[in-house]
Structures are given as C-alpha cells and as structure tokens.
C-alpha cells in the first residue's frame, strides 16, 4: 500500500493551519508565537546587550546567540529531561546560521542579540517553527534586518513529495521517509537552513525544495501579518503602549 493520501487529509503542498502572533512576552525586547498544527514555538529576543565573558565579544559586529529548548512536558511520550541535549545544541546552532544572513549586526560591535526559542508542545517541524517565531521576534525587537526568514520541513513519505510533515508522517513505516527542514530568505529566494535525513532521489529533492519555497512564501505573508496586527492594534513595542 503506497502513501497516496495524507493522514490528516492535506494536499501534498498544504501546510498545517498556522497561527502567528507578535509581542507576546512583555519583558522581552521582541517576542512571537508561531503555531503550525500541533507544534507551538515561542521566541523572545533580548538585545543588543553586553556580552560576557569578554573573549566571546566580536569587535567587528554583534553576536547572534540562539537557544532552542523543548519544555520537559512538550514531547509525545516520556518527559524530556531539562538541560539540553546534543540534539538541542545542534538545532540552536543551525538556527543561528539560518537567521544570521538577514541581520545587520555591524552596528553593534561587542554586543549580543539573544534569541530564546521554547517549545511548549511539539508534533514535528519544531526547528522550523522556532525559526519562524524567532524571525518575527527579531523584527518585533526593531532590529535592522534585510528580510525575515521563513522555514518549513519538506520531504518524501513513500512516493509522495509533501510539505510540513507531521510526526505521524515523519515516523511512517510503510516506505522510505525523507525529512528536510529548510529555511528561505523570501526576498532573494536563498536557502539559509538545509538538513535532511532519510532516503530520497535527487529529482524528488528538487521538487520538495520547490514546494518548500512556495510554502515559505505563504508563511512569510503570515509572519508579516502578525507584525502588522501587533502594531495596528496600537500595542506599542512592549505590548503596553510604551516607546
């Protein structure tokens, strides 16, 4: 039996329902929530602020520091032990690389911009949801940016090339599965995050990336809308009319 109908009835090029909101954490300089189906990411931005210890400072430009973390009760199955893992460290690192190309940090030598991504509920696609939330939060913090970054996971489940795999699809056992988290800089069409695990042929990979690009342009519009909604509501930068 081949995988020709998605478990939740979506079209191959259809993402799960998306909700995005900017300015959810009052004490952060910028913040956002990004929900994709049952995956929920919160992101908060602090900075530019002083970076210590000093040997970590860069006199040429500000440093971007990302931290990806799953809350202990966020995963399907057993409790996730707090305190980070190899997986969370790697995701933090690739998130940094995904976001860095759009940031203008030259004006903030020796400073750091901290991005904290927290997952209260997960159902695959967490690093992508985290990157989407972080982009909105960075823009919400008023940082100078060339663009926002939009991310989604694409892949192949058995014979179907599809976008935004959920956990049931990622763990499909009836055939090969390829899971490819990808981030786009929509204005230039460039890719700033690309990872993959699973099995896929080169032709399907190209098709998957095209699907990802299309989905990211839709996500990009939702990200912009979230920012506009915050400022249209007169909430101010801190969500309380300040600044």
């Amino acid at each position: 039996m081949s995988y020709d109908k998605r478990v939740d009835g979506r079209r191959p090029d259809e993402t799960r329902p998306i909700v995005a909101k900017a300015g959810i954490i009052k004490r952060a300089d910028g913040s956002a929530m990004f929900q994709m189906g049952n995956t929920v990411a919160y992101a908060a931005v602090y900075g530019p602020r002083d970076l210590f210890p000093r040997f970590m400072q860069n006199p040429q430009r500000g440093v971007l520091r990302c931290r990806y973390n799953m809350m202990p009760f966020s995963g399907a199955g057993e409790r996730v032990k707090p305190g980070g893992s190899r997986r969370s460290k790697e995701i933090s690192m690739v998130t940094e690389k995904a976001l860095l190309p759009v940031l203008n940090l030259e004006d903030f030598p020796n400073a750091v911009v901290d991005v904290f991504i927290e997952l209260p509920q997960t159902d695959a696609g967490t690093r992508c949801a985290g990157i989407c939330a972080a982009s909105i939060a960075l823009a919400d913090a008023g940082l100078s940016m060339r663009d926002m970054v939009a991310a989604v996971s694409v892949g192949k489940v058995d014979n179907m090339v599809a976008v935004d795999l959920n956990y049931a699809e990622e763990s499909y056992e009836g055939g090969d599965v390829a899971d490819i988290p990808v981030a786009f800089i929509p204005r230039t069409g460039q890719v700033s995050l690309l990872q993959m695990d699973g099995l896929i042929d080169a032709e399907s990979l190209k098709r998957a990336l095209e699907l990802g690009k299309k989905a990211c342009s839709e996500i990009y519009e939702i990200q912009k809308k979230a920012l506009k909604e915050k400022f249209a509501s007169g909430a101010g930068v801190n969500g309380n009319g300040e600044r």
């Binding site: 992101a43 973390n69 809350m71 009760f73 057993e78 707090p82 904290f116 209260p120």
Partner: protein, 256 residues
Amino acid sequence: MNELLKSNILKWLKTGKRYDGRGLEDFRPIVVERGVTKNAEGSARVRIGDTEVIAGVKLSVEKPYPDTPKNGNLMVGAELLPLSNPEFEAGPPNEEAIEVARVVDRGLRESNALDTKKLCLEEGEKVWSVSIDICTINVDGNLLDASALAAVAAIQDARFPGYDGKTVDYKHLTEKRLPMARTPISITVNKLGEFIFVDPSTDEEMIVDARLTVAMTEGKICALQKGGSTPLTIDEIGRMIDLAKAKAGELSVKLK
C-alpha cells in the same frame, strides 16, 4: 536607583495604594487555563497580571524510593526560562529556580495533595511517578504564587496514560484522574517598612525587605518559606499569615 524606587513605592504604600492603583491586599487579575499543551498528561497556564507560567504533568512507571515502597513518586521542577525575563540566564537551575521548585513541592507534599498510596502498582517494584515541571513564559513578579497555582491546576487536569503492566501508552490517555486528596493554596506576603502586601510586581519585588510564602490547606498551614534578607518579628509573621489566610479563598475559587 533602587533607593529612589524604594522611596517612591513606600510613598505610595503610605497612601494605602500601590503605584499601579491596587490596594495592598489586591492581586492582579488571575487567569487559570487547563489543558494548554497536548503532549502532557495534564497542563495549566496561569497568568497573574503580566506574569505567565505553564505547568505540565508527565507520568511514568518507576521503582519507588526505598523508604516509601508503597507510595508513588512526586517531583517538581522549575525552569526559569531566559525567554521570560532579561535577568534570567540559560544554564542549569540556579538558586532561585530551585527555591521555586522546592517551595511548590513542599506545598504539594506536606498538604498530601496527592494520595501517593493510590499511585502504587506493585509494592517496592512499580509505582506511578508524577513529574510536574513549571516553565516561565513572562516573569513580572510573584512567580512563587503563580507557580504553585499552576502546579495544582495541572495536576487537576491530568489523566493517566494507558498502561498494560509493561509499557506506558502515552498516545491514549484514560479517563482516570490523579488521586487528589487536597487542594493546597500558596500565598506570598511581602513586607516593606511597616507595610505588608500581596502579589508584588517586578519593581516591588526588587526592593521588598522580606517575604513569607504560606502554603495552606483546609484552614491549616502546611508549609512556610521566608525570603529576603531582613528579619521578621513574631508579630509580623502573625500578620503576614493572617493576610495569607484571608486571601486564600480568592485563589482557591480559581481551582474549582
């Protein structure tokens, strides 16, 4: 800067009001939501003003502690996430996080909120282990009361996962609730000069002389924690406990 803030806040307290317009015995609006995250067996979000925390309950089957072979295990953790506040840093739990976890833990444990005997599956071998994790989303004062409230609400929300004697089936929760025996309430009373008040904002919390967290259940006190570096007189402690008791009803309606 703190001296200026302190004199300003004191000036307000003398008028019988706080600088945000509240009376000394007023909480900010409290909102409790249950079932806020799907993969936890139970969860709750508590907002007190702009302070927001999420508590989640995860259940697993483990070996009981050797000194309590017939009782289930209870564990409370607190993650003061750096996302929620410019002062918090990433890394292992610091003193503040450990204090929050332990104060919430004692409120639950000493009130016998959970009938842990009913969590026993096989004496000395297998018991249900209840892990409650508190994660901060936005910290704007009075984290202790918000955390304690969220922990209890999350336990109320929790249901057992399926269990066939060998493996836990997290995908299918049963209708069975945790064996709750009591509903403890924690209220922290703060002292500045001759004034005592509840539910401090970040600014107030920064300059208070001392605080006393009072955990109560069914009219009795079940745990205490004094914080802050200024000592208290017995008379002050009495007044602080009286205020906590007077406010308990207001919080316990949120747990109905």
